[in-house]
């Protein structure tokens, strides 16, 4: 992930509330949308396709050291589940620890 720093982060990444799951349903929908886009773009630009939930918590994707915020695992799982529903993520194990991330859904390929 050395080249992850070339990645151009969206404005939300510098916005602390981005790292707290929003209780307001409209806000949360927008937030999750932004997260989904970010995850896919991040994997695409860095050419990563495997995501390990425990490891990901330490990766810059979910952990913004500059503003000292990170997304908790509960939220990460929620987003990955959403992505799975739309076909961008496939779990490798039943415990939902590791998954493939598809920049494009298998149908699109």
């Amino acid at each position: 992930m050395a080249n992850s720093f070339d990645f151009e982060w969206p404005w939300q990444y510098q916005f602390p509330p981005f790292f707290t799951l929003q209780p307001n349903s409209d806000t949360r929908a927008k937030q999750l949308e932004a997260w989904k886009t970010l995850i896919l773009d991040f994997h695409k630009l860095n050419k990563i396709y495997l995501l390990d939930v425990t490891e990901a918590q330490a990766s810059p994707l979910f952990n913004n050291k500059a503003i000292n915020r990170k997304l908790n695992s509960e939220a990460i799982n929620l987003i990955l589940d959403e992505l799975q529903k739309q076909g961008n993520v496939e779990w490798l194990d039943k415990q939902k620890q590791r998954c493939y991330v598809f920049w494009r859904t298998p149908e699109e390929w």
Partner: protein, 240 residues
């Protein structure tokens, strides 16, 4: 008192024994009276139960004088039973009167504190002012529940969190929210205690205001070890 005791140890012992007997008598007398009192109260409770049974048998109508009177009997006994009696008379006269008195007494304090006061604050102020014949928390709540029906200028409001406040009738939630929204834009982000300092309201109310903004989609939260901060909701205003 007038009894003469002999000098010496025997005299002192006798004196102590007499004194103990006297206190023992006073104590048992006091308890005897209490027992009698309880007995009477028990009869009253039984009586009121049979009355409420009769009330139930009759169909519930609009506030009859009988049921109102009965309510005040229950209150004087300390066994108000609103669950079974809520159909028979809406609250008590006492609470109605208390509600009127409260709204009169609270208008000034409400105006000086921006039209809103939490119920605990009201409780403190009212009882502090009274000194004697204090009101119980339940009395206050019951009186406040009557406020709406009596069409008084002070209203009770319950937030989603369960916090209850009294507000002036003229209190405008929307304009208040706008004001807080402006402060939020101005400062970039706010915690409840920062807002409570800026807008000079109590912490509880400041928090409720921020939660209200969040509910309306104007603010969003940042929950971290540094505390719960609220930011302007850029998710909705700026898009992806």
């Amino acid at each position: 008192k007038g009894k003469q005791y002999r000098a010496g140890i025997v005299g002192i012992e006798r004196q102590i024994r007499d004194r103990n007997e006297a206190t023992g008598e006073t104590i048992s007398e006091a308890f005897e009276d209490l027992k009698n009192l309880m007995k009477m109260a028990k009869e009253m409770v039984n009586l009121s139960k049979s009355v409420s049974q009769k009330l139930r048998e009759k169909q519930s109508d609009i506030t009859e004088d009988e049921t109102v009177q009965f309510k005040s009997y229950l209150l004087s006994l300390g066994i108000s039973d609103p669950v079974t009696k809520s159909e028979y008379g809406s609250g008590s006269i006492f609470h109605t009167e208390l509600a009127k008195q409260l709204s009169e007494a609270l208008i000034k304090p409400l105006q000086t504190s921006g039209g809103i006061l939490s119920l605990t604050e009201v409780y403190c102020r009212v009882n502090r002012a009274r000194g004697v014949e204090l009101i119980s928390p339940e009395d206050l709540l019951n009186a406040c529940l009557m406020l709406e029906k009596l069409n008084l200028p002070v209203k009770l409001h319950k937030f989603d969190s369960g916090v209850m406040v009294l507000r002036l009738e003229t209190y405008d939630t929307a304009s208040e929210a706008r004001k807080v929204g402006e402060i939020l834009q101005d400062k970039g982000s706010l915690t409840a205690d920062e807002l409570s300092i800026f807008s000079k309201v109590t912490l509880v109310i400041a928090k409720e205001r921020l939660l209200f903004l969040e509910k309306e989609g104007i603010a969003c939260r940042d929950d971290s070890i540094e505390g719960l901060r609220f930011y302007p909701n850029r998710f909705l205003t700026e898009g992806a």
